[in-house]
């Protein structure tokens, strides 16, 4: 009885499988055998309509200027970029360059998954924008800001009664209610766990706007402090006002805005940029967010180098290229109403054509990262606890102060194990 003889079916299958494996391995080998050093650069922006293609061209400019290095843009969906890249980093691989969100930056730096850049880049040579300071951890910089975007109120004056933006929170509620009706909504924001990161950003805007912070400078949690609770109450008041499309996700309500079905939203400059590109005849305007203080959240997306990279010098070359004034200028105009690592003046024509950019630029000194200071790397867990308690307030009828007390307690005991 022969058990090892080859059978037609088995060998065809095995051959096919073998061929596929060999092909895959050869392909990966071929990449390394090329004369040019290739690096991968992962960012969710490459997948965006409009900005994505322009950004790819911007990277191409670098490639053309280099004879030995090629950077390949890797588009990854926003919702899963951090998860995927972290898993890969943990496994000893991952893209060479990554555009992270600030929250991921802290985690990656703490785990030594990204390289400190101070030895390779002389930061004092550049005029850095203010938010650069948020990237300094223990006197080291592990990344350079790729995109800095502030939050302000974006509105469509045609849909607002009186055509003027609200100046304080009461006016805000009134304006939102007044604008709602006949298939138009006054305001939109996120309040679902399915979009927990966006929900967190929107909540931070309200809380910061009322002067609240999640922790103080002494490193103590202040989740149940009076100003934070005020911010939560404001969030609930808007929720109950009946002026928002409940449950709509950001992709949907941003589309609604540009289809003129939404009067106001508080969003970042990048989004405003997309609106003006996708719907040029939309009467888009911006104003400071209608809260007691001007503090709002900040999107700070740093460009980092993976510590697993085998092309460290090439990656540093790219980062340095990015920081050159000309390339910074190009990058800033691609990103829209965002700022970059170094200070770049906007041209008067740009400001005339898009006056809302100035509103965003002026916000920079007031922007605060959407992290829990002192516990940055634990923000995802803290965020989950706080958001769940806020949801209980919004939908479960919980009392805001009690809910925040509960959040404070849960974070201290469960997350921080104190």
């Amino acid at each position: 009885m022969t058990t090892h003889s080859r059978f037609p079916r088995l060998s065809v299958g095995a051959r096919a499988l073998g061929a596929a494996t060999v092909f895959a391995l050869t392909l990966s080998g071929a990449v390394h055998a090329q004369a040019k050093e290739t690096l991968s650069f992962a960012s969710a922006t490459f997948a965006e309509a409009g900005r994505g293609d322009k950004l790819k061209l911007w990277v191409e400019k670098f490639n053309k200027s280099q004879s030995a290095i090629e950077v390949q843009p890797l588009a990854m969906p926003f919702s899963t970029l951090a998860k995927t890249v972290f898993t890969q980093m943990g496994g000893g691989a991952g893209p060479d360059l990554v555009r992270f969100d600030l929250i991921d930056y802290y985690a990656a730096a703490q785990a030594q998954r990204i390289l400190p850049l101070d030895a390779d880049i002389k930061f004092s040579d550049y005029t850095l924008t203010e938010p650069n300071k948020y990237l300094v951890i223990d006197n080291k910089r592990y990344g350079v800001p790729f995109e800095i975007s502030n939050y302000q109120l974006i509105y469509n004056p045609q849909l607002l009664k009186g055509g003027k933006p609200p100046a304080n929170f009461d006016e805000f509620l009134a304006a939102a209610k007044a604008a709602t009706g006949d298939q138009v909504f006054g305001f939109a924001y996120r309040a679902t766990m399915a979009e927990s990161n966006g929900f967190w950003q929107d909540l931070c805007n309200f809380v910061y706007g009322f002067g609240g912070r999640w922790s103080d400078d002494a490193g103590k949690l202040t989740i149940n402090s009076p100003k934070v609770v005020e911010g939560v109450i404001a969030y609930k008041q808007m929720y109950d006002a009946g002026a928002t499309p409940k449950g709509a996700d950001a992709a949907t309500y941003r589309r609604m805005f540009w289809e003129k079905k939404l009067a106001m939203e508080i969003d970042n400059g990048g989004v405003a940029g997309i609106f003006s590109q996708q719907a040029p005849d939309l009467p888009l305007q911006a104003a400071p967010s209608p809260f007691p203080t001007r503090a709002q959240g900040l999107i700070l997306a740093p460009l980092v180098i993976n510590s697993n990279t085998k092309h460290k010098e090439a990656a540093v070359t790219f980062v340095k290229w990015m920081m050159q004034p000309e390339n910074q200028k190009d990058l800033q105009s691609i990103l829209g109403a965002a700022n970059v690592a170094t200070v770049v003046e906007r041209s008067p024509e740009e400001l005339k054509a898009r006056p809302w950019m100035k509103v965003y630029d002026d916000q920079s000194p007031n922007s605060v990262p959407q992290l829990v200071k002192g516990f940055e790397a634990r923000t995802p867990e803290i965020q989950q606890v706080i958001l769940e308690q806020v949801l209980r307030v919004l939908q479960g009828g919980a009392e805001p102060q009690k809910a925040m007390d509960q959040a404070q307690r849960l974070v201290s005991t469960r997350v921080l194990r104190k």
Binding site: G90, M193, A194, K246, Q384, R414
Partner: protein
């Protein structure tokens, strides 16, 4: 389950078996060892450690702390309850509707063949695509379901579905059952077709009405199939991930937070692999327990029926 009728095995002359069965099973067993057993053992080990996703090679041994923490947290009991409710509801609805559909499709009518083919469409649809279209259909302002409810005058304002704590789980259940009832109906239908027509006619001749015929003849014949199906649907429900994660990520307020969702969140959002592994082990134990109970029950039943 297949009946191993005596004499049906191919052993023939005793001892002719030799190494054949082991060699036949070896490739698969090896395969499963590498791709399932080894990762599972890794997970078991991880559950006793604190390990970060970013540094999966560094394990800090913490013993039973992860498990102790889980059972101390009030939220975890909610996870268990949601998992149980979801699983039981899936099984009851999928089998119930599947049974009803199978009975219907077993009746004579024109176009029966086409109906039988078309009814299975949901099973063929990819869960990712299903999640997306149902998210849109459940949209609180523009979803077709909301429009329908407005039309029927059933909605008092816009309550929403997937963002509403009391309606999110029913919405997910509707989506899940839509996807799986074709599978159960097809399997039950085949079992129905195996019911001996003679027995059925005999019962009818004896004057039994439809219901009694069902109870006395049909049900006993399809019962083994239905029981096995119940087991599979239960185990698959404990595993179901794509639909729930894409539609609600376990929210709102944990109302759709099953064990698998909690596992995934702990691993990839909190980056705590040890805690995630502990959650996974709890889920696995649950599935194993259910299986053991199932096999005990069926063995007992078979013995009672004299098999």
């Amino acid at each position: 389950m297949a009946a191993n009728k005596p004499g049906k095995t191919a052993q023939g002359a005793a001892g002719r078996v030799g190494w054949a069965p082991y060699l036949f099973c070896a490739p698969v067993m090896l395969y499963l060892l590498v791709f399932q057993a080894y990762p599972l053992l890794q997970e078991l080990y991880l559950s006793f450690t604190q390990t970060s996703l970013l540094s999966p090679g560094q394990h800090d041994w913490v013993g039973l702390r992860n498990y102790a923490d889980l059972f101390e947290q009030e939220e975890f009991s909610q996870v268990l309850i949601v998992t149980l409710v979801y699983t039981v509801a899936c099984v009851v609805c999928a089998i119930g509707i599947g049974l009803g559909t199978a009975l219907l499709l077993n009746m004579p009518f024109r176009g029966r063949g086409i109906a039988r083919s078309l009814i299975t469409i949901p099973w063929a649809a990819p869960p990712v695509a299903v999640a997306l279209i149902f998210i849109w259909m459940f949209n609180g302002q523009y979803g077709v379901l909301q429009h329908l409810m407005n039309f029927l005058g059933l909605s008092a304002g816009m309550e929403g579905w997937l963002d509403n704590p009391s309606r999110a789980l029913p919405a997910i259940l509707v989506t899940t059952v839509w996807q799986i009832f074709p599978f159960t109906s097809v399997v039950i239908l085949s079992a129905l077709q195996g019911v001996s027509t003679d027995l059925r006619e005999a019962a009818v001749i004896d004057g039994a009405d439809r219901l009694s015929v069902f109870g006395a003849v049909v049900w006993p014949a399809i019962k083994p199939t239905v029981m096995l199906l119940t087991l599979f649907i239960t185990i698959w429900s404990l595993r179901r991930f794509d639909l729930i994660w894409l539609m609600t990520q376990g929210g709102p307020i944990g109302s759709t937070n099953t064990l698998v969702i909690e596992l995934y969140r702990r691993a990839f959002t909190y980056r705590e692999l040890g805690e995630a592994a502990a959650v996974g082990m709890v889920g696995l134990s649950l599935a194993l327990a259910i299986t053991v109970v199932y096999f005990r029950l069926t063995l007992r039943a078979e013995r009672a029926a004299g098999h």
